[in-house]
Symmetry: C2
DNA sequence: TTAGGTGCAAAACCTTTGCACACAG
DNA sequence: CTGTGTGCAAAGGTTTTGCACCTAA
Protein backbone atom coordinates (compact mmCIF):
# COMPACT_ATOMS: atom_id res chain seq x y z
CA UNK A 1 0.00 0.00 0.00
CA UNK A 2 3.04 2.22 -0.31
CA UNK A 3 2.40 3.20 -3.91
CA UNK A 4 -1.09 3.65 -5.34
CA UNK A 5 -1.56 2.14 -8.75
CA UNK A 6 -4.12 3.43 -11.18
CA UNK A 7 -6.59 0.80 -12.24
CA UNK A 8 -9.66 1.02 -14.42
CA UNK A 9 -11.68 -0.02 -11.37
CA UNK A 10 -10.62 2.94 -9.30
CA UNK A 11 -11.17 5.17 -12.32
CA UNK A 12 -14.68 3.73 -12.66
CA UNK A 13 -15.44 4.51 -9.02
CA UNK A 14 -14.11 8.02 -9.50
CA UNK A 15 -16.30 8.48 -12.58
CA UNK A 16 -19.39 7.05 -10.91
CA UNK A 17 -18.92 9.40 -7.98
CA UNK A 18 -18.38 12.38 -10.24
CA UNK A 19 -21.70 11.58 -11.92
CA UNK A 20 -23.54 11.86 -8.62
CA UNK A 21 -24.90 15.13 -7.31
CA UNK A 22 -25.20 13.98 -3.73
CA UNK A 23 -23.87 11.48 -1.26
CA UNK A 24 -24.05 7.81 -2.17
CA UNK A 25 -23.33 4.63 -0.31
CA UNK A 26 -20.74 2.13 -1.43
CA UNK A 27 -23.48 -0.33 -2.28
CA UNK A 28 -25.39 2.17 -4.42
CA UNK A 29 -22.21 2.91 -6.31
CA UNK A 30 -21.60 -0.79 -6.82
CA UNK A 31 -25.16 -1.38 -8.01
CA UNK A 32 -24.88 1.41 -10.54
CA UNK A 33 -21.56 0.24 -11.88
CA UNK A 34 -22.86 -3.29 -12.30
CA UNK A 35 -26.00 -1.94 -13.95
CA UNK A 36 -23.76 -0.25 -16.49
CA UNK A 37 -22.15 -3.57 -17.26
CA UNK A 38 -19.07 -3.26 -15.10
CA UNK A 39 -17.76 -6.43 -13.48
CA UNK A 40 -16.26 -4.59 -10.52
CA UNK A 41 -16.60 -6.29 -7.14
CA UNK A 42 -18.20 -4.81 -4.07
CA UNK A 43 -15.05 -5.22 -2.02
CA UNK A 44 -13.13 -3.26 -4.64
CA UNK A 45 -15.63 -0.43 -4.44
CA UNK A 46 -15.08 -0.27 -0.70
CA UNK A 47 -11.32 -0.41 -1.12
CA UNK A 48 -11.34 2.23 -3.85
CA UNK A 49 -13.49 4.53 -1.78
CA UNK A 50 -11.16 4.17 1.18
CA UNK A 51 -8.25 5.04 -1.09
CA UNK A 52 -10.03 8.05 -2.55
CA UNK A 53 -10.85 9.33 0.94
CA UNK A 54 -7.24 8.83 1.88
CA UNK A 55 -6.13 10.75 -1.19
CA UNK A 56 -8.51 13.55 -0.31
CA UNK A 57 -10.56 13.09 -3.46
CA UNK A 58 -13.71 12.08 -1.61
CA UNK A 59 -15.65 13.06 1.47
CA UNK A 60 -17.06 10.45 3.79
CA UNK A 61 -19.75 10.83 6.41
CA UNK A 62 -21.75 8.43 8.55
CA UNK A 63 -25.45 8.52 7.99
CA UNK A 64 -27.76 7.97 10.96
CA UNK A 65 -28.86 4.75 9.28
CA UNK A 66 -25.46 3.23 9.84
CA UNK A 67 -24.14 3.49 6.31
CA UNK A 68 -21.08 5.34 5.19
CA UNK A 69 -21.85 7.89 2.50
CA UNK A 70 -19.32 9.18 0.00
CA UNK A 71 -19.06 12.12 -2.30
CA UNK A 72 -16.62 13.32 -4.89
CA UNK A 73 -14.78 16.39 -3.70
CA UNK A 74 -12.25 18.15 -5.83
CA UNK A 75 -11.83 21.08 -3.49
CA UNK A 76 -9.77 20.08 -0.55
CA UNK A 77 -10.59 22.92 1.77
CA UNK A 78 -12.69 22.14 4.79
CA UNK A 79 -16.43 22.53 4.38
CA UNK A 80 -19.81 21.14 5.36
CA UNK A 81 -22.93 19.81 3.72
CA UNK A 82 -26.65 20.26 3.60
CA UNK A 83 -28.02 16.90 2.58
CA UNK A 84 -31.47 15.82 1.39
CA UNK A 85 -32.76 12.90 3.41
CA UNK A 86 -34.74 11.64 0.43
CA UNK A 87 -32.58 11.95 -2.67
CA UNK A 88 -29.16 12.52 -1.14
CA UNK A 89 -28.56 15.78 -3.00
CA UNK A 90 -25.95 17.73 -1.14
CA UNK A 91 -25.19 21.41 -1.13
CA UNK A 92 -21.83 22.60 0.01
CA UNK A 93 -22.17 25.31 2.61
CA UNK A 94 -19.69 27.79 3.92
CA UNK A 95 -19.48 27.70 7.65
CA UNK A 96 -16.98 30.26 8.72
CA UNK A 97 -19.02 31.45 11.71
CA UNK A 98 -19.52 27.91 12.90
CA UNK A 99 -15.87 27.05 12.46
CA UNK A 100 -14.99 29.91 14.75
CA UNK A 101 -17.65 28.93 17.24
CA UNK A 102 -16.47 25.32 17.35
CA UNK A 103 -12.86 26.33 17.93
CA UNK A 104 -13.75 28.76 20.67
CA UNK A 105 -16.09 26.38 22.43
CA UNK A 106 -13.47 23.63 22.39
CA UNK A 107 -10.74 25.93 23.66
CA UNK A 108 -13.00 27.19 26.41
CA UNK A 109 -13.35 23.65 27.75
CA UNK A 110 -9.67 22.80 27.40
CA UNK A 111 -9.99 20.53 24.40
CA UNK A 112 -7.27 20.47 21.79
CA UNK A 113 -6.75 18.83 18.41
CA UNK A 114 -10.28 19.70 17.47
CA UNK A 115 -12.28 18.20 14.67
CA UNK A 116 -15.98 18.63 14.22
CA UNK A 117 -18.83 16.92 12.51
CA UNK A 118 -21.38 19.39 11.26
CA UNK A 119 -23.94 18.21 8.77
CA UNK A 120 -27.47 19.34 8.20
CA UNK A 121 -30.12 16.95 6.98
CA UNK A 122 -33.41 18.10 5.49
CA UNK A 123 -35.83 17.60 2.63
CA UNK A 124 -34.89 19.53 -0.50
CA UNK A 125 -37.34 21.57 -2.53
CA UNK A 126 -37.53 18.97 -5.31
CA UNK A 127 -38.45 16.12 -2.97
CA UNK A 128 -41.09 18.03 -1.07
CA UNK B 1 -45.47 0.05 23.38
CA UNK B 2 -48.21 2.44 24.44
CA UNK B 3 -47.26 2.44 28.09
CA UNK B 4 -43.68 2.14 29.30
CA UNK B 5 -43.27 -0.23 32.18
CA UNK B 6 -40.47 0.09 34.68
CA UNK B 7 -38.32 -2.99 34.92
CA UNK B 8 -35.16 -3.66 36.85
CA UNK B 9 -33.42 -4.14 33.52
CA UNK B 10 -34.17 -0.66 32.30
CA UNK B 11 -33.24 0.68 35.72
CA UNK B 12 -29.92 -1.17 35.46
CA UNK B 13 -29.23 0.40 32.06
CA UNK B 14 -30.10 3.80 33.45
CA UNK B 15 -27.77 3.27 36.40
CA UNK B 16 -24.94 1.97 34.22
CA UNK B 17 -25.25 5.00 31.98
CA UNK B 18 -25.36 7.39 34.90
CA UNK B 19 -22.09 5.86 36.10
CA UNK B 20 -20.39 6.79 32.84
CA UNK B 21 -18.80 10.17 32.27
CA UNK B 22 -18.77 9.91 28.49
CA UNK B 23 -20.45 8.16 25.61
CA UNK B 24 -20.62 4.39 25.62
CA UNK B 25 -21.78 1.81 23.13
CA UNK B 26 -24.59 -0.62 23.79
CA UNK B 27 -22.13 -3.48 23.84
CA UNK B 28 -19.84 -1.79 26.36
CA UNK B 29 -22.82 -1.21 28.58
CA UNK B 30 -23.86 -4.84 28.24
CA UNK B 31 -20.35 -6.08 29.01
CA UNK B 32 -20.18 -3.95 32.13
CA UNK B 33 -23.56 -5.08 33.38
CA UNK B 34 -22.70 -8.74 32.85
CA UNK B 35 -19.34 -8.17 34.53
CA UNK B 36 -21.24 -6.92 37.57
CA UNK B 37 -23.20 -10.13 37.62
CA UNK B 38 -26.33 -8.98 35.84
CA UNK B 39 -28.08 -11.49 33.61
CA UNK B 40 -29.45 -8.85 31.30
CA UNK B 41 -29.48 -9.70 27.60
CA UNK B 42 -27.83 -7.68 24.86
CA UNK B 43 -31.09 -7.22 23.00
CA UNK B 44 -32.64 -5.77 26.13
CA UNK B 45 -29.83 -3.27 26.45
CA UNK B 46 -30.50 -2.15 22.89
CA UNK B 47 -34.24 -1.96 23.53
CA UNK B 48 -33.79 -0.10 26.80
CA UNK B 49 -31.46 2.39 25.18
CA UNK B 50 -33.94 3.00 22.38
CA UNK B 51 -36.63 3.59 24.99
CA UNK B 52 -34.45 5.95 26.99
CA UNK B 53 -33.64 7.94 23.86
CA UNK B 54 -37.33 8.04 23.08
CA UNK B 55 -38.08 9.27 26.59
CA UNK B 56 -35.43 11.95 26.23
CA UNK B 57 -33.31 10.51 29.03
CA UNK B 58 -30.42 9.63 26.77
CA UNK B 59 -28.56 11.10 23.83
CA UNK B 60 -27.49 9.01 20.90
CA UNK B 61 -24.87 9.70 18.27
CA UNK B 62 -23.20 7.68 15.54
CA UNK B 63 -19.50 7.26 15.95
CA UNK B 64 -17.27 7.18 12.89
CA UNK B 65 -16.52 3.55 13.74
CA UNK B 66 -20.08 2.56 12.93
CA UNK B 67 -21.34 2.15 16.45
CA UNK B 68 -24.14 4.01 18.13
CA UNK B 69 -22.98 5.76 21.27
CA UNK B 70 -25.27 6.67 24.15
CA UNK B 71 -25.12 9.01 27.07
CA UNK B 72 -27.31 9.77 30.04
CA UNK B 73 -28.96 13.16 29.69
CA UNK B 74 -31.33 14.57 32.26
CA UNK B 75 -31.93 17.85 30.50
CA UNK B 76 -34.32 17.41 27.64
CA UNK B 77 -33.62 20.55 25.68
CA UNK B 78 -31.76 20.25 22.42
CA UNK B 79 -28.01 20.53 22.72
CA UNK B 80 -24.67 19.32 21.37
CA UNK B 81 -21.50 17.73 22.65
CA UNK B 82 -17.80 18.22 22.83
CA UNK B 83 -16.36 14.75 23.03
CA UNK B 84 -12.90 13.51 23.92
CA UNK B 85 -11.57 11.15 21.26
CA UNK B 86 -9.50 9.29 23.85
CA UNK B 87 -11.64 8.81 26.94
CA UNK B 88 -15.09 9.62 25.61
CA UNK B 89 -15.73 12.31 28.19
CA UNK B 90 -18.39 14.63 26.86
CA UNK B 91 -19.20 18.21 27.71
CA UNK B 92 -22.58 19.61 26.91
CA UNK B 93 -22.37 22.83 24.94
CA UNK B 94 -24.95 25.43 24.20
CA UNK B 95 -25.28 26.12 20.53
CA UNK B 96 -27.89 28.78 20.09
CA UNK B 97 -25.90 30.68 17.45
CA UNK B 98 -25.28 27.53 15.48
CA UNK B 99 -28.90 26.47 15.70
CA UNK B 100 -29.88 29.73 14.09
CA UNK B 101 -27.19 29.44 11.47
CA UNK B 102 -28.27 25.90 10.54
CA UNK B 103 -31.90 26.92 10.16
CA UNK B 104 -31.07 29.92 8.04
CA UNK B 105 -28.66 28.07 5.82
CA UNK B 106 -31.20 25.32 5.22
CA UNK B 107 -33.98 27.75 4.45
CA UNK B 108 -31.76 29.68 2.10
CA UNK B 109 -31.30 26.54 0.00
CA UNK B 110 -34.94 25.54 0.10
CA UNK B 111 -34.56 22.65 2.51
CA UNK B 112 -37.29 21.93 5.02
CA UNK B 113 -37.77 19.55 7.92
CA UNK B 114 -34.26 20.29 9.10
CA UNK B 115 -32.22 18.24 11.50
CA UNK B 116 -28.56 18.69 12.10
CA UNK B 117 -25.65 16.71 13.39
CA UNK B 118 -23.17 18.90 15.18
CA UNK B 119 -20.56 17.28 17.33
CA UNK B 120 -17.06 18.37 18.13
CA UNK B 121 -14.33 15.84 18.78
CA UNK B 122 -11.06 16.71 20.47
CA UNK B 123 -8.59 15.65 23.13
CA UNK B 124 -9.55 16.78 26.60
CA UNK B 125 -7.14 18.37 29.05
CA UNK B 126 -6.85 15.21 31.14
CA UNK B 127 -5.89 13.01 28.21
CA UNK B 128 -3.33 15.37 26.78
C1' DT C 1 9.35 -9.76 -12.33
C1' DT C 2 6.80 -8.46 -8.30
C1' DA C 3 4.33 -5.95 -5.06
C1' DG C 4 -0.08 -3.98 -5.00
C1' DG C 5 -4.99 -4.62 -6.73
C1' DT C 6 -8.97 -7.51 -7.67
C1' DG C 7 -13.18 -10.90 -7.17
C1' DC C 8 -15.33 -13.95 -4.78
C1' DA C 9 -17.04 -15.89 -0.74
C1' DA C 10 -16.72 -16.18 4.03
C1' DA C 11 -16.21 -13.82 8.20
C1' DA C 12 -16.78 -10.05 11.39
C1' DC C 13 -19.37 -6.55 13.15
C1' DC C 14 -23.32 -4.06 15.14
C1' DT C 15 -28.21 -4.14 15.39
C1' DT C 16 -32.93 -5.91 14.89
C1' DT C 17 -36.48 -9.46 15.09
C1' DG C 18 -39.23 -13.84 16.05
C1' DC C 19 -40.63 -16.52 19.55
C1' DA C 20 -41.99 -18.43 23.93
C1' DC C 21 -41.98 -17.12 28.51
C1' DA C 22 -41.98 -13.73 32.51
C1' DC C 23 -43.97 -10.18 35.00
C1' DA C 24 -45.65 -5.17 35.84
C1' DG C 25 -49.76 -2.81 36.21
C1' DC D 1 -55.62 -11.13 33.50
C1' DT D 2 -53.25 -8.68 29.54
C1' DG D 3 -50.14 -7.00 26.98
C1' DT D 4 -45.49 -5.08 27.49
C1' DG D 5 -40.77 -6.53 28.39
C1' DT D 6 -37.30 -10.09 28.36
C1' DG D 7 -33.56 -13.68 26.77
C1' DC D 8 -31.99 -16.30 23.52
C1' DA D 9 -30.81 -17.39 19.03
C1' DA D 10 -31.29 -16.44 14.37
C1' DA D 11 -31.56 -13.15 10.82
C1' DG D 12 -30.49 -8.68 8.85
C1' DG D 13 -27.48 -5.19 7.22
C1' DT D 14 -22.92 -3.08 6.13
C1' DT D 15 -18.06 -3.54 5.92
C1' DT D 16 -13.71 -6.23 6.17
C1' DT D 17 -10.66 -10.04 5.22
C1' DG D 18 -8.39 -14.46 3.36
C1' DC D 19 -6.88 -16.31 -0.65
C1' DA D 20 -5.66 -17.29 -5.33
C1' DC D 21 -5.29 -14.90 -9.42
C1' DC D 22 -4.30 -10.71 -12.17
C1' DT D 23 -1.81 -6.73 -13.71
C1' DA D 24 0.40 -2.12 -13.63
C1' DA D 25 4.94 -0.35 -13.43
Amino acid sequence: MVVKRNTWQREAVRAAMAAETGFVSAQQLHDRLRAEGSTIGLATVYRSLATLVELGEADMLNSPEGENLFRFCSTDHHHHHLICRKCGAAVEIAAAPVERWAQEEAKRHGYSDVKHVIDIFGICAKCR
